[in-house]
């Protein structure tokens, strides 16, 4: 566990790709089987334990430390796993430090009731770094800036083979990857790549940079489609096996039996998972009713029928279409979808356009129909092959401009993660008439980001200098007609809300600009937001 914990700690502080590759390669070269295989599995998110929840970890810590001292510590550190790792009162000489293999194997075999005892025993035996690594492992989010792709690059470096060789065999390999390491260390032959209904790494789009990309690229080279507001899925049906994968390769099929039932083909499709309202796409809120569930009962399936809007085809029968250009794949996709029976899989239509100006107009004013609720546009180069990862140039996403509103900063709280220690969670409000007919601010949302580190420093100082009241970790900041800080807030959408006093809830709000110059009294009225609802 010690070497793995050290690796995670170093990775989390090393920003450069090359630095991470060296750390990973050295770790894989120095660690033994099956320890390194479990480490690889945890880095590539091939491991998940659902037995340890953050709530339990917090409770275990509070049983060891005064809850008030724990709360002060958590407020300062801003990350639960890290706080527990740091404050956990160790019991010197309590136990032998567990190995990673022991942790993984015990957790796999443990019942829900046994996990807490195991965890406490390990926390007692480990040092702060080890405790941190253990808790990260258990809560399933290592977040040390290592993608599965990077881990594979490090394996390629270790074995002196091209990374594509690793990717080809990857989905046929299982943790702890003994065969894979044996091959990389030239102790055995390359393992077979065959695995039925396996996930194929997806191709992702870059956000377009309006300032430079449009002058650089020819509109005739690109096709455009609407960017649907669902989730990206890969639908696989091969040799009688059907799978529905998220874009990271997570198998989400069990929650969508209606979609699996519609995969009446032999091939692999790439598309958007949506809730269908007849032939039309429903808003994202409807899809949310079906996400993050293990199953879906008949009632839920009936109320929120799911389907796929297909935009690419990776395999047709046994033929790999990924090396074909997009224009070619698109023709194959259209013919493929046309042959399908049923209405759960439809085709994401191409949006014809002549030049970037026309496309910009379409983006600002989408035509009637589903395009109205699209997130924006996708641009795909006609000659681009289907390439895993996020290559620059072939695919772009061009989201719609966000809505903007000028609001006044009302409350602030210390942030978590990178922003811990700074007042960086901001509640903001807009003006309305209160019950006495006076102008008063009503909170309409909370924003955590959108500012630079330098701006964060200034915001933090503003909060400290203008605090009028404290409620636990929350500071109330001076905000009235004569004085206050105006934040220009960008957000993606607005919904009615009965949970919020203002009656509105924002989707994805963030600080767009800080209006140090603008008097608080000139911030927007609640009526501006209310009009957007109608």
């Amino acid at each position: 566990m010690r070497a793995f914990a050290r690796l995670l700690d170093q990775l989390s502080f090393t920003p450069s790709r090359n630095g991470k590759l060296i750390l990973l390669r050295d770790y894989f070269a120095g660690a033994t089987d099956p320890e390194r295989g479990w480490a690889l599995a945890s880095l590539t998110e091939a491991l998940s334990f659902d037995a340890a929840k953050p709530g339990f970890i917090r409770k275990a810590a509070e049983a060891r430390l005064d809850p008030q001292l724990f709360a002060l510590s958590y407020d300062f550190v801003g990350d639960l796993a890290e706080t527990v790792a740091l404050v956990w009162p160790s019991r010197p000489g309590a136990n032998r430090e567990p190995e990673l293999t022991e942790v993984v194997e015990s957790l796999r075999g443990a019942s829900r009731r046994e996990v807490p005892q195991l965890l406490e025993r390990w926390l007692d035996a480990l040092d702060a770094e080890g405790r941190w690594a253990l808790l990260k492992l258990l809560t399933g989010g290592l977040r040390v800036g290592v993608s599965a792709r990077l881990a594979k690059q490090a394996l390629a470096l270790l074995g002196g083979v091209p990374v594509t060789d690793i990717e080809e065999v990857w989905h046929s390999q299982q943790p702890p990857y003994g065969d894979l390491f044996a091959w990389l260390e030239k102790r055995s032959e390359r393992p077979s790549a065959d695995a039925p209904a396996r996930f194929r790494p997806v191709m992702l789009a870059q956000a377009i940079d309006e300032a430079v990309d449009f002058s650089r690229y020819d509109p005739a080279d690109y096709g455009a489609e609407w960017k649907w507001d669902g989730i990206r899925v890969q639908a696989v049906s091969e040799g009688g096996q059907r799978r529905l994968y998220s874009r990271t390769g997570e198998d989400i099929g069990a929650a969508f039996p209606d979609v699996l039932g519609a995969l009446d083909f032999d091939g692999v499709l790439d598309g958007e998972l949506l809730i269908f309202n007849g032939a039309h796409a429903a808003p994202f809120g409807d899809l949310q009713q079906r996400l993050n569930r293990k199953t879906a009962d008949a009632k839920l399936q009936e109320k929120y029928p799911a389907g796929i809007r297909a935009y690419d085809i990776l395999m047709e029968g046994a033929e790999d279409l990924r090396p074909l250009p997009f224009a070619e794949r698109r023709k194959r996709l259209e013919a493929f979808v046309a042959r399908l029976s049923g209405s759960r899989i439809d085709l994401s239509p191409l949006q014809p356009f002549l030049g970037w100006d026309e496309l910009a107009r379409l983006r600002a004013e989408p035509p009637d129909g589903d395009a109205r609720i699209a997130e924006g546009l996708m641009l795909k180069r006609w000659d681009s092959i289907y390439e895993a990862g996020r290559p620059k140039g072939p695919w772009f996403k061009w989201k719609r401009d966000p809505h903007l509103v000028d609001a006044v900063l009302m409350y602030a709280q210390r942030g978590h993660g990178k922003r811990s220690g700074f007042y960086s969670d901001f509640t903001f409000g807009v003006w309305r008439d209160d019950d006495n007919g006076d102008r008063a601010l009503t909170p309409v949302g909370k924003a955590y980001f959108g500012f630079t580190d330098e701006e964060l420093g200034r915001l933090d100082k503003f909060v400290r200098d203008n605090t009028v009241e404290r409620f636990g970790p929350v500071r109330s900041v001076r905000a009235d007609r004569d004085f206050g800080l105006v934040l220009e807030i960008a957000f993606e959408g607005l919904q009615r809300s009965t949970r919020h006093k203002s009656g509105v809830a924002m989707r994805f709000p963030r600080v767009h600009r800080i209006r140090w110059d603008k008097p608080a009294r000139e911030a927007d009225e609640l009526s501006v937001l209310q009009r957007m609802l109608d």
Binding site: F13, I22, S73, A128, K418, D453
Partner: protein
Amino acid sequence: MATFRSLLRNTPDGLYCPPGDFHIDPVRPVARAVITHGHSDHARAGHGAVLATRETLAIMSARHGQDFARAAQAAAYGEAVTRKDVMVTLVPAGHVLGSAQAVLRWNGMTIVASGDYKRRRDPTCPPFEPVPCDVFVTEATFGLPVFRFPTADSETAKLLKSIRQFPERTHLVGAYALGKAQRIIRLLREAGYDRTLYMHGAMAGMNALYQAHGIALGDLAPATGERRDALPGEIVIAPPSAIADKWARRFADPLPAFASGWMQVRARARQRHVELPLVISDHADWNELTETITELKPQELWITHGSEEALLRWSTLNGIRARALDITGYGDEGD
């Protein structure tokens, strides 16, 4: 009976002792001051008369010039000095070279103003000396249970391992020029690292001063004036502000490290873009604070600066009367 506050109280200028008519580490110029140690937030220039250890006076003179005060008096550790009715004794605080606790005795009561202190071994200064007292005035820079520092040796080992793993990168170690820098140098020497250590220009004065006080730092050379991509695989020690600055770009793919107690919290390291956090502090961590208070068992605990809330809570849980003094102006030089 006189209360403890008749002997020492908080004022806008800092701690003040009425019967002795002097301040301790005042934040603004005053007539008479006792200075616990040379960090700039505690040792300001412009006082009338200053009482401090010989080493602290030397540090103040080096930093502020010889006329840093109108009059200066040196007191050796343990030497009793009388200020009006009050007996003042300076005893080691283990923080940096010359650092002292101010022990005030008057009318049968004893108050110890400990300044900044730590309980761990430091090869550059004598260890903290516990003095039984009625009131213990403590700092709380790292007064949260999250601050339980690893040994300085294990952190030094991390630095030496990184040099082996990334031999093509210059390792830039951020460390405060007074105390931390010299401690790191000594720790590296004790770990057997005998190569030349390279120094930012701001380190020269204090390094020379420490060497003049008999602390061997080995072979040092200036890091300035080097060409681009200079010093791969070498260790350069610089003020924390310099490691992420333009100054750092002259080195070979610099790897920023920072030696500070704040590095215990990951977000603090990331905010400063530190790639190699070294948890080495000249302040007491949570265990040192609470163990010192437990050992001294003062009637009252006064907390000057830092995370006083948690220490107040701990005192309540442990039946110790404690209060926060809310002194503003300390902590500027950090750790």
